[in-house]
């Protein structure tokens, strides 16, 4: 029995929810099952369409970097053109987001995919800034996935250099006050410190990581010139010497001599090695895989592993899997709506047959859309932010919505054993068994605490 519970934890907390036969496959070796997924063969995502040709959607300079483009300049022709671009972008969103959800739901390596989504959320870029979607689509594929088994520094570097991040956090146009561009009377002619601040606060040191406003400003100076060509791919990073602030800078006590693009590279390397970063990443991992308020001992162990292996991810994941804490309370975490969507798709096996539009509709019904975190902090990993009276009703309505889709094909008690069998309570078992119809039974199963938690 205990082994079955560990299997449930492997499939649900570390994975994306169990499907028929998973508990047998995992058997008595949940750690082995998870470790086998830490394999580079899972990096490519062949089913996700590549963004279209860069030139097709990026003719306007403002498309990638502006909220409500052209709002200040009511130029009819320009806004018409933007409308077309945004419509194309929406269509692309539907196609790529649906393909991603489908591939994730069908993946043989759900732990790997959870890690992708964890890091994608840590380094948030979001459609809420109304960026052209093409560039966002490449972010997870080109900056996150290839580095999930790499190191924190690799991923930090890839994220910071990616055009989606440079646009999302406004670094593209950030201009050194004494740069050549500013001397030439470039518009505004000033720094934008958004990216610098959020790298320090949200990506590396954490808000209590010991930096000051002066560090934010200096780091913003260091990052001036980190921009992108109007392309869609990760390779379209560009360094603009024209925008770069000349002179020495001082960040966290270290002096960075004028070195153009390399200043940013050196700064990211330092930040990745900073002990505050180790601790911050440890807290986030522990919160995701152990509990909303993770035990301090567990955080310390992860931080040590991060430091010992210099931010290499695989030893860090192995340290996590080797610890006792994640294997104790099988229902400690509340699933996000996105978790619920993925676990429902896995449990029912319907993902392969759903149209793109249907998958997007399912996300809408759940209340959480892909790549749409409300702020650069990403989606919350705490139950309090995902539960309330209306949130619960939406979860129940979502369970009903999916049950309507699948009730003619699936047997509620079997589905229950396949997904939450090792942890099901007598209450839930009775509720599912005594439901008036298969539709009601499946609704209650998907709405049950055992299914809604991980």
């Amino acid at each position: 029995m205990a082994a079955r519970v560990q299997g449930f934890i492997a499939a649900t907390r570390f994975g994306l929810g169990a499907k028929h036969g998973d508990f047998d496959v995992i058997g008595n070796d949940p750690r082995g099952w998870l470790t086998s997924q830490l394999d580079a063969k899972f990096i490519p995502v062949k089913d996700i369409p590549a963004p279209p040709d860069a030139g097709a959607v990026a003719a306007e300079p403002c498309v990638m970097s502006c909220d409500a483009p052209a709002a200040d300049q009511p130029d009819e022709a320009r806004s018409e053109k933007l409308k077309i671009i945004l419509a194309e972008s929406n269509a692309l969103y539907t196609r790529v987001a649906a393909a991603r959800t489908r591939a994730t739901a069908l993946s043989p390596a759900p732990f790997f995919e959870r890690l992708v989504q964890f890091w994608s959320n840590h380094f948030t870029v979001s459609v809420t800034r109304r960026q052209d979607f093409g560039v966002l689509a490449s972010f997870e594929r080109d900056a996150i996935r290839p580095n999930v088994l790499g190191s924190f520094h690799d991923m930090l570097r890839a994220s910071t250099r990616h055009p989606a991040m440079l646009a999302y956090l406004d670094n593209r146009m950030s201009m050194g006050p004494h740069s050549v561009a500013a001397q030439n009377g470039g518009a505004g002619g000033g720094l934008n410190e958004n990216l610098a601040r959020e790298i320090l606060e949200l990506h590396t040191l954490g808000v209590n990581g010991g930096y000051s406003q002066a560090d934010v400003t200096e780091f913003a100076r260091i990052l001036t010139g980190w921009t992108s060509r109007r392309g869609l791919e990760a390779t379209d990073f560009a360094f603009s010497a024209q925008l770069h602030e000349p002179g020495d800078k001082k960040l966290l006590g270290d002096t960075y001599h004028e070195a153009g693009e390399d200043e940013g590279e050196q700064a990211l390397k330092k930040l990745a090695q900073h002990p505050a970063t180790a601790k911050f990443i440890a807290i986030k991992l522990a919160r995701h895989f152990i509990a909303d308020e993770p035990p301090r001992g567990a955080v310390d162990k992860l931080a040590s592993a991060f430091k010992e292996h210099e931010g290499a991810f695989v030893p860090l994941y192995q340290a996590l899997l080797a610890m006792d804490e994640p294997w104790q309370d099988p229902l400690a975490k509340l699933k996000t709506p996105n978790d619920v969507v993925l676990s429902v798709l896995r449990a029912t096996g319907i993902a392969a047959d759903l149209s793109d539009a249907k998958i997007i509709e399912i996300h809408k019904q759940s209340g959480q859309m892909p790549w749409a975190a409300p702020s650069p902090a990403g989606w919350s990993d705490k139950a309090a932010d995902w539960m309330g009276a209306e949130a619960l009703l939406q979860r129940v309505a979502f369970a009903r919505f999916v049950a309507r889709e699948v009730h003619t094909k699936l047997d509620p008690p079997v589905l229950m054993d396949d997904t939450i069998g090792p942890v099901v309570t007598a209450n839930t078992r009775a509720a599912v068994a005594s439901a008036g119809s298969a539709e009601d039974g499946i609704t209650l199963l998907f709405a049950s605490p055992e299914f809604q938690r991980r």
Partner: protein, 406 residues
């Protein structure tokens, strides 16, 4: 378990639910008069609103030069007095200002002096002296002062409860386009299903409570027009949502304290002046202000609305025609219960020596001074309790006098 609200009796009928006793221990007694008749709406403006273009200090000799390029031209604001104006998209606010039902407080900040949105919002909502010092929200602690039986006095507009309303006192949430309650059979099944899970069971009970009030009140309201409440940055959706909220707050047995959240203020790029993203957000907020007065009807005289943001923005524009994270901003006060028609607060000035850290508007009024005045003068909570329990460590922030009608 004593005389529970009818809806909960309905929910629990026939079910001997020992585990629910705790969940239901804080229940509103059916039909009992609420201990407070005043209404309070706290509008949380997430993302750091640029107060210098909301209520522009056009009379400050440095306003145009300090805001190089993003200062409002005279055509983009309506003067409120000889010093301050209101962005022209604040039509409803300006009308209320003129009729004495609207006021602004300039150069307001929480005690937080760093520039992280998330820590700043934590301070704004927890009411602590710094981030993560207190784990629940100041509005919830205020609710607690009414005693243990008053659970449904709080309402969060949205899917979940913002930190400002989180805490030991149960509060409801409501969102437009809400599903409505499941049928009776399903409700009873869910009640049993969630028997041993406090998080789920509490949420279910609150859902039943809120819907018992909201559903009849909203008959005939087009919830589709509220756009699902997802995007209140759309003025139309805001108006429709707030109209519905006003109906819920007008119910004699309904909630009294309510939060509404509006994001989208983090204008790092291309923020615009008379038009643009910031101006559009002003219009959405203003639509909400106008709808509140409309929808609360006769209860407007018993209402105070406080709209505040976590911090302000830099005085000067940045390199991308926007503004970066700053310090002081503006807060709005509305309602029939306030002494409006004034811009409160001490103006710190915009010359470079007057700025905070040479970049931001210097804070001169502690936001807690406003909140404390609302709690004591409007909601009639005992000052000592407010001091000790709602805003501990706020003794330097004296309640702002005179903002609430005597």
């Amino acid at each position: 378990m004593k005389d529970i609200h009818i809806s909960r009796r309905r929910l629990l009928q026939g079910i001997g639910c020992a585990a629910c006793a705790t969940a239901f221990s804080g229940i509103r007694v059916a039909f009992a008069a609420a201990p407070v008749d005043q209404r309070f709406i706290f509008v949380i403006l997430r993302g750091a609103m640029d107060g210098l273009n909301a209520i522009p200090p056009y009379g400050d000799p440095n306003y145009q030069s300090a805001r190089n390029g993003i200062a409002l031209p005279a055509s983009a604001y309506t003067p409120l007095d000889t010093m301050f104006g209101a962005h022209k998209n604040f039509e409803a606010f300006t009308a209320m200002f003129k009729s004495g039902e609207g006021a602004a407080v300039q150069a307001v900040a929480t005690p937080y002096r760093e520039r992280s949105h998330f820590d700043a919002q934590n301070v704004l909502e927890s009411g602590g002296t710094g981030p993560h010092i207190i784990n629940d929200g100041w509005l919830n602690r205020a609710l607690a002062l009414y005693g243990p039986q008053q659970d449904s006095l709080g309402l969060a507009v949205g899917q979940t409860i913002p930190l400002a309303l989180q805490g030991g006192v149960p509060v409801g949430t409501w969102a437009p386009s809400a599903q409505g309650l499941p049928d009776e059979t399903m409700l009873l099944a869910l009640d049993k299903l969630y028997q041993h899970d406090m998080l789920f069971h509490t949420a279910l009970s609150q859902a039943v409570d809120v819907h018992d009030i909201a559903d009849p009140a909203l008959q005939g309201t087009d919830m589709k027009a509220a756009g699902g409440g997802k995007n209140l940055r759309n003025a139309g959706a805001m108006k429709n949502t707030v109209e519905a909220v006003g109906k819920i707050l007008s119910d004699p047995k309904g909630p009294r304290l309510c939060t509404i959240e509006l994001g989208g203020w983090d204008t790092h790029a291309q923020q615009g002046t008379d038009k643009g993203i910031l101006a559009n957000n002003f219009a959405a907020l203003d639509a909400g202000f106008g709808a509140m007065k409309e929808a609360l009807g006769e209860n407007w005289n018993k209402t105070v609305v406080l709209a505040a943001t976590e911090f302000g923005r830099t005085v000067a524009q940045n390199g991308t025609a926007g503004t970066d994270h700053g310090t002081a901003s503006v807060a709005f006060l509305l309602g029939g219960a306030i002494n409006g028609g004034r811009v409160y607060g001490q103006w710190p000035g915009l010359s470079s020596s007057q700025l905070y850290q040479n970049r931001d508007l210097r804070p001169t009024t502690d936001l807690r001074s406003l909140a404390k005045a609302v709690l004591t003068d409007h909601l009639r909570l005992p000052a000592r309790e407010v001091e000790a329990k709602v805003f501990p460590g706020s003794d330097t922030a004296r309640p702002l006098e005179g903002i609430i009608k005597a």
